[in-house]
């Protein structure tokens, strides 16, 4: 009896220690974001003098930085571009990958086997090993760079292997063929069966793939930087890059610009936190 209370106390003490350690690490993790936040409203001279000072100690606090960053980054336009590219690519790859994976699972022929093997093998190829020939083919030969649709197509192609792999595993394990047979008997065509019976069953894996893919598309820099150079088409990471190049010494404006990029993601994250974390874990563990 006595022993358990000692054990309990020890455990309590250890837990307090653990929480203290965690809180310290956590504050260190959040520190950069905090710095951006408190400096985004300050003027340059105040930032240089004391990046730590809290807002109320500073005179001349204003939203000027945000206004300047917003216009200089062409924020709305870049945001729109990012949104178009991310949404279209995500919808396209989700749909096409689900269909292809479904075909591969239900048709055990040579094409299926070869395609699937190639896809699994290709997942290890880093983007850098493909980017030079990619530019050579789509820029030099086909001359289709600088179109949003090209970027959407490439995003779709690059995330196809991983998505098919995930859908393949899910369909194999969770979609009973008996359901489809019943649908055929009831007179459904193949596409009706897929869209009305199979696709709704794929909901959990679809949400995982939408989260993983859209996060990757939204934040991607290297591929869009190779495809899009026209100022009107720049996505958010690209316009941040060119904005930073021009204003790097103007700290207040830069902080405001960086915060503008972070805020929409954080809002979405707060709203969909459970789904996002669940999706990432499911995606990694598979």
């Amino acid at each position: 009896m006595k022993k358990t209370t000692i054990g309990g106390n020890k455990r309590k003490a250890a837990n307090i220690l653990a929480i203290t350690g965690l809180v310290i690490i956590f504050i260190a993790y959040m520190f950069p974001f905090l710095m951006v936040l408190i400096n985004s409203l300050k003027q340059k001279r105040d930032i240089i003098k004391s990046p730590f000072s809290w807002l109320y100690t500073i005179k001349g606090l204003s939203f000027d930085n945000f206004v300047k960053a917003f216009t200089q980054m062409d924020f709305l336009n870049a945001f729109k571009n990012s949104l178009i590219v991310t949404v279209s690519s995500t919808v396209l790859v989700t749909l096409l990958a689900a269909m292809l994976a479904y075909y591969i699972v239900r048709h055990n022929n040579k094409i299926s086997k070869i395609t699937f093997a190639l896809m699994v093998a290709s997942m290890i190829i880093p983007f850098q090993a493909i980017m030079i020939p990619l530019v050579s083919i789509y820029g030099g030969m086909l001359n289709v760079l600088n179109h949003r649709i090209t970027l959407i197509f490439m995003h779709t192609g690059f995330s196809m292997a991983m998505s098919v792999f995930m859908f393949h595993g899910f369909i194999k394990g969770n979609v009973p063929i008996a359901l489809e047979e019943a649908a055929y008997i009831d007179g459904c065509t193949h596409s009706q069966t897929f869209f009305k019976i199979v696709l709704p069953l794929l909901k959990p894996i679809i949400s995982t793939m939408v989260i993983l893919n859209s996060m990757a598309f939204w934040n991607d820099f290297l591929l869009p930087s190779l495809v899009l150079t026209d100022k009107k088409l720049l996505t958010l990471p690209l316009s941040t890059y060119s904005f930073y190049g021009t204003y790097s010494a103007d700290y207040g404006t830069i902080m405001a610009g960086l915060l503008l990029c972070v805020i929409p993601i954080l809002i979405l994250y707060v709203a969909l936190q459970k789904q996002i974390i669940g999706g990432v874990v499911a995606g990694a563990v598979k």
Binding site: N15, A18, I25, F26, Y29, M30, F31, P32, F33, M35, N39, I48, S50, P51, F52, L96, M99, L100, Y103, H107, S112, T115, L118, M119, S122, I124, P126, Q128, A129, I130, M131, I132, P133, L134, S136, F153, M154, T156, G157, F158, M160, A161, H190, N219, D220, F221, L222, L226, T240, Y241, I254, M255, L258, C261, I265, L266, Y269, I277, V280, A284
Partner: protein, 290 residues
């Protein structure tokens, strides 16, 4: 009728996805191998077949080997630090403390934001905030911006990468810890296993599948680091923090030596493939099922 239907199925279900995949991944990959055998400069319409000359160019490109060595150093540091840190934090998080979900979500935040933005945020922290701390306290460690000294800039890059990647690995390790069976842990305690012994002989073997995933993810990500490298240091000072992936980009798109750049990219690919293969094989072997 049957065969006609089969063709239609293939065309509708399989072909669009396959087309995207082949056009964007397989064809460029194969074409890339051919490119290494030509003297293409990125502009001209004609390419000449020059055999293995590009690979001779790679051998002579000392900057590439320097950056490759630096990348190895970086990868080892990042992989070890990320996994030790994430494992420890995940262990603390799963002790049944309050606010577990809040912490977990907070640690993951950097992963939601693109490397470009993260690099710029840290650039500000290193060049202004830390310098300010140095000036105020007189600590020589912070008096001059880390980013202007080659060794410290490299350390900065490692620090930011560890910060960025560990949140992701925390998620995976937390999932792993939550999957540990209570019965097994209890049995170990009853048998008299203390904290360290339990960790070494019970928890670690059972966590090996999580370790396999995390090692694979950190390895492949660290090897291909580009965004953060570009926005945090851009290779500065004097190209001393230029990682291999960035060097390949510079070689091809700035120096316009596409053949040599592609040859270096292929070498990088082979190295990554071999190392991930060996890692997967070695850690898989240590996985056990409770």
């Amino acid at each position: 009728m049957e065969s006609k239907n089969k063709g239609k199925d293939f065309g509708m279900f399989a072909l669009p996805g396959m087309f995207c995949f082949f056009a964007v991944v397989i064809v460029p990959f194969v074409y890339g191998i051919y490119l290494t055998l030509t003297d293409w400069n990125g502009v001209s319409k004609v390419k000449h077949f020059i055999g293995l000359k590009n690979f001779a160019g790679v051998v002579k490109d000392t900057q590439f080997w320097t950056s490759l060595l630096l990348t190895f150093k970086y990868v080892i540091l990042v992989v070890v630090l990320v996994n030790v840190l994430a494992f420890a934090i995940a262990y603390l998080l799963t002790r049944g403390i309050k606010g577990q979900n809040f912490f977990r979500a907070g640690f993951f935040t950097p992963n939601l934001i693109g490397g470009i933005v993260l690099g710029y945020i840290w650039q500000f922290v290193f060049s202004r905030v830390f310098v300010n701390i140095g000036e105020a306290t007189g600590w020589s460690l912070f008096e001059i911006s880390w980013l202007s000294d080659p060794n410290k800039a490299f350390a900065a890059l490692v620090l930011v990468s560890v910060w960025q990647l560990s949140g992701y690995m925390i998620l995976i390790y937390v999932a792993g810890f939550m999957g540990l069976s209570e019965d097994v842990m209890e049995a170990a305690s009853i048998d008299g296993a203390s904290g360290w012994i339990k960790l070494k002989n019970i928890i670690m073997p059972l966590m090996m599948s999580s370790v396999t995933i995390c090692l694979f993810l950190t390895l492949s990500r660290a090897f291909m680091v580009y965004d953060v490298n570009l926005s945090l240091t851009a290779g500065a000072p004097y190209g001393t923090t230029e990682m291999a992936a960035m060097h390949v980009y510079e070689k091809a798109f700035t120096s316009r030596q596409f053949g040599v750049g592609q040859a270096e990219a292929l070498i990088l690919f082979i190295i990554v493939a071999c190392i991930s293969g060996i890692q997967g094989y070695m850690t898989k072997k240590q996985e056990v099922v409770a």
